[in-house]
Each structure stands twice: as structure tokens, then as C-alpha cells.
């Protein structure tokens, strides 16, 4: 009875690029990522909708896959959900979405899924594409030959969706027999497994034997039981899998003869091929890619600027009003100096992240991203990476978190691990404000070679530096790491299509939301902790700050107007944050840093963008922490007490720039790496390695330039 309450459980399965996520969006209207790049849908996503009979239903969007045998992390999800009848995700009905223009290959997955014994509906998508390719498909014949319910839909335009919903409420007849008889390969082992695990379906039992070790819900004892049985009954995984796949294809081809009429001459393909001749050309191909990358950077840095300024201004105002209208006290200070600037520091990145994902999803939707992967594979392979590593590396320029999640479709574990390990070296948008302020401080604002702005060139150089660090580290890892599995590059090149704007919009919205929630929590927490640490301190020197400062001022004959600044500087020095900063000073002095920068470094280890806010607080600029010009002026005026010269010299600036370019200063990234690699080994190694490189790099730079 409890099942009725939850409603009908539907799983959505299909090849990458078959239009699965478009259909999911059409059915549920929920935010989701969809792309033309094989394997974009990563996690299983849920959605809800009402059926025509009034009942509610829950639909799970499973990652795209070509067969039920998993190769990559995201493909594993598919079989896990469909094979574990005790799991809460186990569906009542499966919709297999099938690309009509590539029927044969799509039907392989369909027949595998159908054989698992769960009621299955075939949603025939892209019939219009098949028509353009001069293929006509008889839905009736398809239904008859494959003994299934077929609903013809157009997922992009939302046609046939109501028919599909109606089909979900109707009785689905089971096929008279399995498409592929698993018992023909291994008659003995199937009854044994069926008996042991209480299964009814032959093919499912056969899959228990095939995929024993990838199944997470089996206990070690159960796995051993199957492994023993496999030896006893001479079960040869690969040989059987080969025979199964060949037999399925032969049957599919035979049956399709009465379903598809191919009139030859494929106009769609010709158009795609013409485009490919230019886009994968040895000169134009890379040129066009470079232009697109250049546009991407322009977009992220220039077009996002006005929006970022607006957010910046908005939060500065908010802080100001809070101070004005709330009663004075610790809570008001916490809100105005801790929470509001903290929130602003998160939200300010939204324009950049939204624009980056707008770009990336257009590239994916159109099919171009697959060509970039194709173009870059040979080059990336030299460095121990994979053509597919390009997407995470580019995404890393916005934020390492979604970038690392985007590695899931890399089949080879070694390639994937290297990509995860080096992606955080790419200069993410959180480093941008740090770069911006430091470059403005130590690099003169003049032109070189006539028209290149020197500050801009240095900024580009920082991105290049990050990229080089990533590539060279990958190269080193290529030789250190032992491969668990083989890398391969067998990938569909989808035809070019116009992006669907609704899908692009869902991507932008979904990714920005993830960023705000994931990174936002941590940045906000750090801002509050930092504010507390900087606002309170132990002992006499902190608690009697007013008197001490007043006495000092009298002794040194300092003007009263300086009182506020001196007081906050004194308080900071003896606050908990100041004590922390001083305790690490010996370690960072060789890099040219003092205890004030030390505080910024400590807080930056949670999230590097905190740097600007922290030094703003430390140099007591007051409430408006995002106002860079005032921070800049303060920093410029800061004098190194030992040399009597400006603190922020070229040597210190470069040292800091290099430190921030390399150091692993993002807890969210470490958390994501842990989630993706399932062990603390990699995030810890990453932290040690990246921080080590940062320390050494900064040390060398400072000592050489000093």
C-alpha cells in the first residue's frame, strides 16, 4: 500500500544524445543538464509529474549509456538502479528513449533493458531526423517485431508527451519470451543464482554473474558465492558478453528489415560532414577553437563585469543600511561585517559562472564539444590525459567543483584520476579577485608593444601558469601512477544541431544554484568564523585595547583622528586571528609575508576568494570590503617596518600571485575530490602537493626578486 502513496516509479534510460534529458525536462519541467556531448547527465536526477489518471509519478533520469554493461562511473548507476529490486529507486516502469536516426545501436540497449523483466515502453525520438536522412520507420512494425509498446515523440519540441503519459497508465504486456535467452549460454549457473538470490528473471541472474564486482549491494560473501559458482560452471564473462552482443545485433538487424525503409542519400550527414571538414581541419580547426576560447575568456572577464559591479554595489549598500537601521552592537557588526560581505563574496561570482556554463552548454548542445575532444585527444594523451579531459580543464576556469564532477564520463580510471588531480591548478574564478588586486598593486598600468595592457598580459600569464602546472603535473603522474585499466577513446561524434535554449537555461540555472549552495555555505561560514576570530581575543592586551592605544598615542603625540584606525589595528594584532597569523609567521617569512598576510593565508585555506575580504578587514578599511580602490590604497600605503619601503613590493606581489596560483585553498574542492574518488588519499595528496608547489614557487620568486 505504501507504494501507491509514492506513486508510479519510472526510470528513464537511453543512449547519450538520444534526447533523454530533453524528454525529462518536457515531462517534469525540472532543472536538468542536457548536452550533445556523450554522457553529460551525471547523477541520477529525480522529477515529478501527474499522470492522466490523476496519480502522481516520480521519474529518475539515468545517465546515458550504450549498453547495460558499465564502463564509466556514471554508466554504473544505470545497472545498479535496474538490477536491485530492494532499492528505493527500483522502477515500476522503464521508458527507453530511442534515437530513430540510429535505431540499430539504440535498440541494443533497449533489448537488454527489456530482458530484465521490468515493464518497458519504447519512446521513439528524432523521427524527423531519420526522415531527413531519408529513412522511414513503421511504428506498427517496430511494436510487433520487438513485442513492446512504442510511442513516437519529439522531445525537443514536446510532441507526443501526452501520449507517452497516457501509455504509462495502461497495462503493459510482457513479451512472450526474452529477446536473448541467457540460458543458452550458461544453463547451469542461472538456476543456482536465481535460487540463492530469490530472482525470477533469467537475464537478471545472468547479469549477477557478469557484473558481480560492480554491484555495490552484494555483500562480500554473496560475491564469493557467485565467483565460486562461476568457476564451477565454467562461466566466461567476456566470451559470453561477446556472443550475447553479436546475437542481439544479428536479431535486431533481422527484425529491422521490416521496420525501416532506407532510401539512401543522407542530407543531414552531408551537412555535418561539411562542417566537420572545417571544424576539425588541421589549421582552421585549432584556429576556431582558439577563437572560441578567447571569446569565452572575454565573456567571463568583460561581459560579467557590469553585473558583478552591480552585485558588489548592492551588497555595499546593504551593509551600509544595516549599520544605519539596526541598533549598534555585536549582532549588527556580525551581520554588516561578517554575513553580508560574506554573502556578497559568493553571489558576485554568479555572473561569471552563469556565462561560463551558458557557453559550455551551447558547445555541448551543438555537438561541437565532441569535436574539441576529438581535436585535442592526441595532444592531451602525451600528458597522460584524455581528449575528454579538455572539458573539465576548461570548466576549471570557472570553478573546480563542477569541473571535477564533469570527469565522470572518462572511462579510464587513471585518465580520470589524473584529470581530477590537476584540474584545481586551472585558475578558477575565485582566484580572479586575488589576482586582480595584486596585479593592480604591483604591475604598472601601461601598454606594451603599443596596445597590450601590461596588467592584462600578466593576468593572461597567470592563467597560462595554472594551465602549465596542470599539464606538467599530469605528465609526472602519467609515469608515477600504475594503470588499473586501459584508456580508450571510442566515442560517438553526434551530428551538429542548434542548441535548445530551454536546455541551456536549465543548465545555467542548475549550475549556478549548485555553486551558491555548495561554495556559499563554506564561504559564509568562514566569513563568520573569521569575523569572530578577528573581533575577539584573549588576555589583557586585547581587552584593554582602548586604554593601551590611548596611552601610546599620548606618548607618541599622535593626532586624535587616528584613534579609530590605530585601535582596530591594535585589536586585530592581539585578536585570535592575529595570534594565529603570528604563529605561522616564521614559516612564511622566507616568502616575504608578515603575520597579517598570514591571517589571510589561513582563512584562504578554506576558500581563496576570502583573501580580499580578509586583508580588507585586516587593514581596517571598514565596512566596504569589496571596494577595491580603497583596499588598494591601503595596501599601497602599508610600510614594511624592517625596510621602511612599501610592504607590497614587486617581489612580495609576485610571490603572493604564485602562491595563490598553485596552492590548494578550497575545502569544497577537496570535499568533491573525496566524493569522486571515494578515499581521502587523493584530496590529502592534492593538498600536500599543490601547497608544496605553491610554497616552493613563491619562495623562489621572492628570493630571486627581493
Amino acid at each position: 500500500m505504501s507504494e501507491k502513496k509514492q506513486g508510479l516509479k519510472i526510470a528513464l534510460v537511453g543512449n547519450p544524445n538520444a534526447g533523454k534529458t530533453s524528454l525529462f525536462n518536457q515531462l517534469t519541467g525540472l532543472k536538468q543538464k542536457v548536452g550533445n556531448f556523450p554522457g553529460v547527465t551525471m547523477d541520477k536526477n529525480f522529477g515529478f509529474f501527474k499522470l492522466p489518471d490523476g496519480n502522481s509519478s516520480i521519474i529518475i533520469d539515468l545517465p546515458g549509456t550504450y549498453s547495460i554493461y558499465p564502463r564509466s562511473m556514471d554508466e554504473r548507476v544505470v545497472f545498479d538502479v535496474l538490477s536491485d529490486s530492494t532499492s528505493e529507486d527500483y522502477p515500476d516502469i522503464i521508458i527507453v528513449i530511442v534515437d530513430a536516426s540510429s535505431l540499430e545501436r539504440n535498440l541494443l540497449l533497449f533489448t537488454e533493458v527489456m530482458d530484465l523483466g521490468i515493464p518497458t515502453i519504447l519512446a521513439l525520438n528524432m523521427v524527423e531526423v531519420a526522415k531527413k536522412e531519408n529513412k522511414s520507420i513503421s511504428v506498427k512494425a517496430l511494436e510487433k517485431e520487438f513485442e513492446t509498446k512504442v510511442v513516437s515523440i519529439n522531445a525537443r519540441q514536446g510532441l507526443g508527451i501526452e501520449k507517452l503519459k497516457k501509455a504509462l497508465t495502461e497495462e503493459i504486456n510482457k513479451p512472450s519470451k526474452a529477446f536473448f535467452e541467457a540460458t543458452s549460454l550458461s544453463p547451469e549457473i542461472i538456476p543456482v543464482i536465481k535460487d540463492k538470490f530469490n530472482l525470477e528473471n533469467d537475464y537478471l541472474a545472468y547479469q549477477y554473474a557478469q557484473q558481480t564486482y560492480s554491484k555495490q549491494f552484494l555483500s562480500n560473501d554473496e560475491k564469493r558465492f557467485i565467483a565460486d559458482a562461476k568457476v564451477k560452471y565454467n562461466f566466461c564473462d567476456r566470451q559470453f558478453q561477446t556472443r550475447e552482443t553479436v546475437e542481439r545485433y544479428q536479431k535486431i538487424r533481422e527484425k529491422l528489415k521490416s521496420v525501416v525503409v532506407d532510401n539512401g542519400m543522407d542530407s543531414n550527414e552531408t551537412r555535418s560532414n561539411k562542417l566537420d571538414r572545417i571544424l576539425t581541419h588541421k589549421i582552421y580547426g585549432y584556429l576556431i577553437f582558439m577563437v572560441i576560447l578567447f571569446l569565452l575568456f572575454q565573456t567571463i572577464f568583460k561581459w560579467a563585469e557590469p553585473f558583478m559591479d552591480m552585485i558588489d554595489y548592492g551588497f555595499a549598500q546593504l551593509s551600509f543600511f544595516t549599520r544605519q537601521y539596526l541598533p549598534e552592537g555585536a549582532l549588527t557588526n556580525l551581520i554588516a561585517e561578517g554575513i553580508i560581505p560574506g554573502l556578497g563574496g559568493v553571489l558576485i561570482f554568479i555572473p561569471q559562472i552563469a556565462l561560463l556554463f551558458c557557453f559550455i552548454s551551447i558547445l555541448e548542445e551543438s555537438g561541437y564539444m565532441a569535436r574539441v575532444v576529438f581535436l585535442m585527444d592526441k595532444i592531451m594523451r602525451r600528458f597522460g590525459l584524455n581528449g575528454k579531459s579538455v572539458v573539465p580543464l576548461i570548466s576549471g576556469v570557472a570553478c573546480a567543483i563542477p569541473a571535477i564532477m564533469a570527469t565522470r564520463n572518462i572511462e579510464s580510471w587513471k585518465d580520470r584520476l589524473i584529470t581530477i588531480f590537476v584540474t584545481p591548478f586551472m585558475s578558477c574564478s575565485a582566484r580572479l579577485p586575488v589576482y586582480a588586486i595584486l596585479i593592480a598593486l604591483v604591475v604598472p598600468n601601461r601598454n606594451v608593444l603599443g596596445f597590450f595592457n601590461l596588467q592584462g598580459v600578466v593576468l593572461m600569464g597567470m592563467y597560462l601558469l595554472g594551465f602549465l602546472a596542470a599539464i606538467l603535473s599530469a605528465l609526472a603522474m602519467k609515469y608515477i601512477l600504475k594503470a588499473k585499466d586501459r584508456s580508450y577513446f571510442i566515442m560517438e561524434l553526434p551530428i551538429y544541431r542548434w542548441p535548445k535554449w530551454k536546455n541551456v537555461w536549465y543548465t545555467i540555472f542548475g549550475k549556478s544554484k549548485t555553486f551558491v549552495l555548495e561554495a556559499g555555505k563554506i564561504i559564509l561560514a568562514i566569513s563568520i568564523i573569521l569575523w569572530v576570530l578577528a573581533s575577539y581575543g584573549p588576555g589583557e592586551k586585547f581587552n584593554n585595547a582602548e586604554e593601551i592605544v590611548k596611552t601610546e598615542m599620548q606618548i607618541n603625540h599622535i593626532d586624535d583622528t587616528e584613534y579609530e584606525n590605530l585601535l582596530s589595528a591594535h585589536k586585530l594584532e592581539y585578536s585570535y586571528a592575529g595570534i594565529l597569523g603570528k604563529s605561522i609567521e616564521p614559516a612564511i617569512r622566507p616568502l616575504g609575508y608578515d603575520w597579517k598576510i598570514g591571517i589571510a593565508l589561513i582563512t584562504s585555506f578554506a576558500a581563496r576568494e576570502v583573501f580580499v575580504g580578509t586583508i580588507a578587514t585586516i587593514y581596517s578599511v571598514g565596512a566596504d570590503v569589496e571596494d577595491e580602490s580603497t583596499i588598494k590604497d591601503k595596501l599601497r600605503a602599508e610600510i614594511n617596518p624592517k625596510t621602511g619601503k612599501p610592504m607590497y613590493s614587486l617581489a612580495l606581489g609576485v610571490s603572493l600571485l604564485i602562491f595563490y596560483a598553485f596552492a590548494m585553498q578550497c575545502m569544497s574542492t577537496l570535499a568533491v575530490v573525496y566524493r569522486e574518488t571515494k578515499t581521502w588519499k587523493w584530496p590529502i595528496l592534492q593538498l600536500i602537493y599543490m601547497s608544496g608547489v605553491a610554497y616552493l614557487g613563491a619562495l623562489i620568486a621572492y628570493q630571486l626578486l627581493k
Binding site: S67, R71, E133, T242, T245, N273, D377, G387, Y488
Partner: protein
């Protein structure tokens, strides 16, 4: 015996067998079966990977992988 890697753009061959079991499983799933017609479409700028047409769609693979596919 010729392998898929030796086809020039525009040439068509018929798959005969594979000499790498691990790769063959993936290739079979993607519709590259013995007896199937494959057309070499184009190669990436450094000659690798290549793009072939098989079973009505474009598939890319590396030269090393194409070498494991023998043609009749």
C-alpha cells in the same frame, strides 16, 4: 591483412575480426560487428584519432584502436 587504420578517407571496408578482446566488447556494443560495413570519414589534424561511419552514425576512435580491427 588490412586493418581499419589503413583505410584512406572515403574508403569502405568490411569488419572481419578483432585482435583485442577488451576493446572488441566496446566496439561490438557500438555496432562494429564482424560483417559490418565501415567507412573511413576523416582524421583529426595529427592523423589520430579518426572518424568512421558505422551503422548509420559517426564514431571516433584512436589509430591504435582501429589497428585491432581487421578487415576482409
Amino acid at each position: 591483412m588490412r586493418s581499419l587504420a589503413e583505410l584512406k578517407p572515403g574508403e569502405i571496408g568490411v569488419v572481419k575480426s578483432f585482435n583485442d578482446e577488451y576493446l572488441s566488447l566496446k566496439l561490438l556494443e557500438m555496432g562494429v560487428l564482424p560483417g559490418t560495413e565501415v567507412e573511413m570519414k576523416f582524421a583529426a589534424p595529427f592523423g589520430d584519432p579518426i572518424c568512421i561511419r558505422v551503422s548509420g552514425y559517426n564514431l571516433s576512435l584512436r589509430l591504435d584502436e582501429a589497428k585491432t580491427i581487421s578487415l576482409t
